[in-house]
């Protein structure tokens, strides 16, 4: 069965989500939202999905592209305010938070703010990030990027909008951050991990049909060389549920 890159990513991200967890979605988050709804309908019925607008456990008829579309509220279970989300985060209740990035680096640090040197106007100004604190307070961070290129996957982010493993090793803990930080990064090409003790990105598995060289070329920092395990392709059950229940209008296919 064929599938789009974004469908693949939603399926792979869904596998990372565990039953009973509480997860928060960010902006421009069709993939994480789809992943969470898919996980709810497959292996994680007790997963709590919190939209960035405050809608809790939405039951959409389809996948709305804006994460704060008013239609996410119709039939959801509760409505939180910005203050509820702030507390939810600061109180350490979040199990995971999903982030993309203008730049992501080897250690999973996230830049959504700006590129170029400090003290100069930005070379590129990014949108910024509303939920920075959740990179510190959520028990783990799940990264994703549809744009797997050396421009996005850089050795070191120009600006730490949200901390990953900082400069790796024990640096995150030494900065006073108790949570686990980035555990996975999902792209159209591969699934990455951040194994102990270095916490630097390595290829956990290579996505179906991708040549290892393509991953190496697309990544702006050194990776432990292949061979790498193969990503288990989306199953019929996964794709079926994704299309029939979560993304009925094919937003992720277009």
């Amino acid at each position: 069965m064929s599938y789009s890159d974004r469908e693949l990513m939603a399926v792979l991200l869904a596998r990372q989500l565990r039953n009973g967890e509480i997860g928060m979605m960010g902006a421009s988050s069709e993939i994480p939202v789809a992943a969470a709804l898919l996980a709810q309908c497959l292996h994680a019925p007790d997963l709590t999905v919190i939209m960035p607008s405050g809608a809790v456990n939405p039951r959409p008829g389809r996948l709305y592209r804006s994460s704060s579309d008013g239609r996410w509220f119709t039939g959801c279970e509760a409505i939180g305010t910005a203050y509820d989300l702030f507390e939810l985060s600061e109180n350490g209740r979040l199990d995971f938070m999903c982030y993309g990035g203008v730049q992501l680096d080897r250690f999973g640090n996230i830049n959504l703010t700006r590129t170029g040197p400090f003290g100069e106007p930005p070379r590129f100004r990014g949108p910024g990030l509303a939920n920075i604190s959740m990179a510190v307070t959520a028990k783990r961070t799940l990264l994703f990027s549809t744009a797997h290129s050396p421009r996005t996957f850089v050795e070191r982010v120009d600006y730490v909008t949200a901390p990953g493993h900082l400069s790796g090793g024990t640096q995150r803990r030494r900065a006073g951050i108790a949570t686990a930080g980035p555990q996975v990064c999902i792209t159209p090409l591969a699934v990455f991990g951040f194994p102990e003790p270095e916490h630097a990105m390595t290829v956990s598995s290579l996505n179906p049909g991708i040549e290892p060289g393509r991953v190496l070329d697309a990544t702006g920092f050194a990776l432990p060389p292949p061979p790498w395990p193969a990503t288990e392709p989306p199953t019929g059950e996964e794709l079926g549920a994704l299309r029939a229940v979560v993304d009925r209008t094919g937003v992720l296919r277009s």
């Binding site: 019925p45 509760a78 939180g80 600061e90 549920a241 299309r243």
Partner: protein, 306 residues
């Protein structure tokens, strides 16, 4: 396609989801000596009175009790029954019905450690927990004698601060919940949501269970989202003799009876308070409802609200 589910996402999810509905005894298991227990409601409204009676039946003692800023019946009952070691409270009374006799007596006899509180020190302490802080500023507590007598407020260099309060368990009463723990208060939620957010475990007794579809039809009515709740215990009239906002009125006659029993001197023709405990606490909820007047009485309390 082989993998296509035959039911909608919702039905599947609902089917597979864990119900948080349990018995009162299961929900309250583990509450005992040194537990910091937060009890919701306000004055003699929306209070988990049946849960408090169940704790007393189980012989609980040595509690550290954090009351919602204004508290009443259940605080007095717990103290009178000797279950409380330490009390964090801002206020205990029966409003126009009178002072809280057992609270007053225990305080005057120094049988109880009282940590003087205020809405600001309770909320400040809870907010410190929510916000991951060791304490929270409460500048408005300046110039009170709480600063000299209460451990729930400290004077820092920049003014008074309330140390973080993280209850081990919050025991709340609301009117409705679904089986996934989405709670609906039909009147005041008051301190209950912040208790739920700040507590390690949350038990909610409700007068009635509603379907998840009812919750989803009006999500703005959810006062505590399911992810904060560990146990839902359906218990009609679970607040009696306190009121349950929107459903039934407090039972003023019963409260007066309680006040007479709790305020009577020891040994006055047999211990009136001990008799109250025997007659109204050491029995199951159904028998209790029967004893306080059964359907006729409960209907009358419903009527007062309608």
């Amino acid at each position: 396609m082989a993998g296509v589910p035959r039911t909608s996402a919702v039905e599947r999810a609902t089917d597979g989801r864990l119900s948080k509905v349990m018995t009162l005894d299961s929900a309250l298991a583990g509450i005992g000596a040194d537990t910091l227990i937060a009890v919701g409601g306000l004055w003699y409204h929306n209070r988990p009175a049946a849960a408090i009676r169940a704790l007393l039946r189980g012989g609980v003692s040595g509690l550290r009790l954090l009351t919602s800023p204004p508290s009443s019946f259940d605080t007095d009952l717990l103290i009178g029954a000797g279950a409380v070691r330490t009390l964090y409270t801002a206020h205990v009374s029966f409003e126009h019905l009178g002072l809280a006799p057992r609270f007053r007596r225990a305080a005057e006899r120094a049988e109880l450690e009282i940590i003087e509180c205020d809405e600001a020190t309770v909320l400040g302490g809870l907010m410190a927990t929510l916000e991951g802080l060791p304490d929270h500023p409460v500048p408005s507590l300046v110039a009170t004698d709480l600063l000299r007598t209460s451990t729930q407020v400290r004077t820092g260099t920049d003014g008074p601060r309330a140390p973080a309060l993280r209850p081990d368990v919050a025991v709340l009463h609301a009117q409705e919940a679904d089986r996934f723990g989405n709670v609906r208060h039909l009147g005041a939620a008051f301190c209950d949501p912040v208790f739920a957010k700040a507590s390690a475990r949350v038990v909610v007794t409700v007068d009635r269970l509603v379907g998840n579809d009812v919750v989803r039809a009006e999500p703005w009515r959810t006062t505590i989202p399911g992810y904060l709740v560990d146990a839902v215990v359906p218990l009609p009239y679970g607040a009696h003799p306190c009121s349950s906002h929107g459903l039934y009125c407090h039972d003023e006659e019963h409260l007066r009876h309680y006040l007479a029993a709790a305020g009577a001197p020891d040994g006055d023709g047999g211990d009136a308070f001990a008799r109250y405990l025997r007659e109204f606490v050491h029995l199951d909820h159904a028998t209790y409802l029967d004893r306080i007047g059964g359907t006729a009485r409960l209907d009358a309390l419903d009527e007062e609200v309608a």
